[in-house]
């Protein structure tokens, strides 16, 4: 059995370059984190204020550093598997916001032509967003099979699958992790521990403290990292990915973060104890990153603001694009059920 969980420390800005975090990369990270944040804020408004969107939507703000840090450490052709809380994964994989937004509006221009919806926006194989399951835990065994194919391919690609703290209690997690360890597939199992599964706090779902340690039972490499430090997530993912590319098998990476709002967009999350939310908000990954890189003089406020403005426009544009797009005609649907020829 692997001895213990390796805890990846927060990365001080002085070490950024050592980790390969170039200016270009930092700018990209900022851009993407802001993009996700503003996108989610817009989505919330479209649901709650404008009433233009309906259905379930699980926003990921507060968790931007995980999608962004992890994806930044992967190659663009490394496939990822997402879940019900997947807007951030999609955007981090460089899927244009307008396509993601169009999917939320159920339009033909959406990533899934409007057939998937919020829980499946990150299905866009063109950009390495291979699949997204809305069934908690189910993406995990699927990722093992993806890893199998990558292993065979011998091109050094790795796969990453994202899931929540709640997912580690599913049978699918267990079966998938065990098989992954046995087959030594190049897969990163990235657990976004946001402290809650719906209304249920993580400590009410398991009698042990460490989620990361669960991986020890399978013999996979286990790591834990502060999910609010995008550089640390990046470093941990890079390390795990290198390991996998060298043929040393899977890693289970727990990223600790906090779900800033409700489970779904309509959830007021009144079940959270007083004080907790304030504590959680203090750890905001965007605020943290901005402060750190400004203090260290790695980026300037001006360039960060300008990116933010750029993103703002892009998000606004995504709404216009989505609204002005068409819905598939019902008669077309038939051809997506079974293969009908190229």
């Amino acid at each position: 059995m692997v001895a213990s969980v390796s805890v990846v420390e927060d990365v001080p800005p002085a070490d950024y370059s050592k980790h390969g975090l170039t200016r270009e990369k930092l700018l990209w990270m900022w851009r993407k984190m802001v993009e996700i944040r503003l996108f989610e804020e817009k989505v919330e408004e479209l649901f709650l204020v404008k009433g233009l969107l309906i259905g379930p939507a699980h926003l990921c703000y507060g968790q931007e550093a995980i999608a962004v840090g992890a994806v930044a450490a992967l190659r663009s052709d490394d496939p990822i598997i997402s879940n019900h809380r997947g807007h951030g994964h999609a955007l981090a994989k460089d899927i244009p916001p307008r396509l993601v937004m169009a999917e939320l509006f159920g339009k033909a221009a959406g990533t899934c032509k409007g057939l998937g919806g919020s829980m499946h926006v990150a299905i866009y194989p063109e950009k390495g967003a291979l699949y997204s399951s809305a069934i908690v835990g189910s993406g995990i065994p699927i990722a093992v099979g993806v890893g199998l194919a990558l292993q065979r391919e011998k091109a050094g690609r790795v796969a990453a699958v994202f899931f929540g703290d709640g997912a580690v209690n599913t049978g699918a997690f267990h079966e998938g992790m065990n098989l992954a360890a046995l087959w030594r597939v190049p897969v990163l199992f990235i657990c976004e521990n946001n402290m809650y599964a719906m209304s249920t706090k993580v400590e009410r779902t398991m009698a042990v403290e460490s989620i990361a340690a669960r991986g020890l039972a399978y013999g996979v490499n286990c790591m834990a990292v502060n999910g609010n430090d995008v550089a640390a997530v990046y470093a941990a993912t890079a390390q795990a990915a290198e390991r996998a590319r060298r043929g040393e098998g899977p890693t289970f990476l727990e990223c600790k973060t906090y779900r800033r709002k409700g489970h779904g967009v309509y959830d007021k999350a009144e079940y959270r104890p007083p004080g907790e939310v304030e504590e959680g908000l203090k750890k905001d990954p965007l605020t943290r990153f901005r402060r750190v890189v400004l203090e260290a003089g790695l980026l300037t406020a001006a360039e960060m603001d300008s990116l933010e403005n750029e993103v703002k426009r892009e998000v606004e544009d995504s709404v216009k694009f989505a609204q002005s797009s068409n819905v598939l005609s019902f008669s077309e649907l038939e051809k997506y059920v079974y293969f009908v020829g190229e």
Partner: protein, 324 residues
Amino acid sequence: MRELTYSEALREALREEMLRDSRVILMGEDIGVYGGAYKVTQGLLEEFGPERVRDTPISESAIVGSAIGAALMGLRPVAEIMYMDFMTICSDQLVTQAAKMRFMSGGKLSVPMVVRTQYSLGRVHGSQHSQFFPVWFLNVPGLKVVLPSTPSDAKGLLKAAIRDEDPVLFVETGLLYRMKGPVPEGEHFVPLGKAEVKRRGNSLTVVAFSRAVHEALAAAQKLEEEGIEAEVIDPRSLRPLDLAAILDSVRRTGVLIIAEDDVKTGGIGAEIAASVMEEAFDYLDAPILRVASPDMPVPFSPSLEREYMPNSDKIVQAARKLLK
């Protein structure tokens, strides 16, 4: 009569049965602190405490499995599976374990438990959270399957399900939770296996389940304007099925439509059609038609989902086709 929403009616049933019988316990994801994804169990944790209202991790097999174990020991668990889609995760427990226990043990084991779940077709949830496949459980002897369509039935049938000695799958309709309807005060009990004629008529029979009952009633209303008197029958439970009530009606009308939210091919309408034909062949004036969901997964896009769903217009069209 006072009016309750479908979810209030369900809650009342749970509460009354919990008050009446201390063996009734609840288990499921987010049913306690949160009061259930659809608020059906709201307030019950506070009233009955965490021993009897148990939040669980996301472990559908263990939810149903532990409910079985508790039932084997004489408790009366009511497990909640948040979406019917997740029944595909725990069907070993319900189908291969619970449903067969009495039989395999030569009648010695009894598994008095209820699995409550709901399907969310029409709530813009996409392919993985909108599935409705009661036929799976209809095809499993040993199980009972209940499909309430009104607040009153929801309450009365849930009470009956909880008191039943066999495992019952109780499938609620997500879209109906906020529907209001009259529910009798006091003890209100609807036995499993008794259809209700929701509307009388002599021109044709519409057998409908769950949400489709309301579409059938709306269709009957429209047909009335054309002078067509549709009889609408809601069997309310699939197993046991009140075939006699359906046959009575079909023998009178000679024409049958089945309205159902599930996918047409291999759905529950097929069984109704086949059974009616077997028993009342000579009374049928026309082929039995099924108005059901088309043979495809549920599209997310709200407008496409609306087109996808069976509705009163589609029932009206089927009726016109049959009666022309």
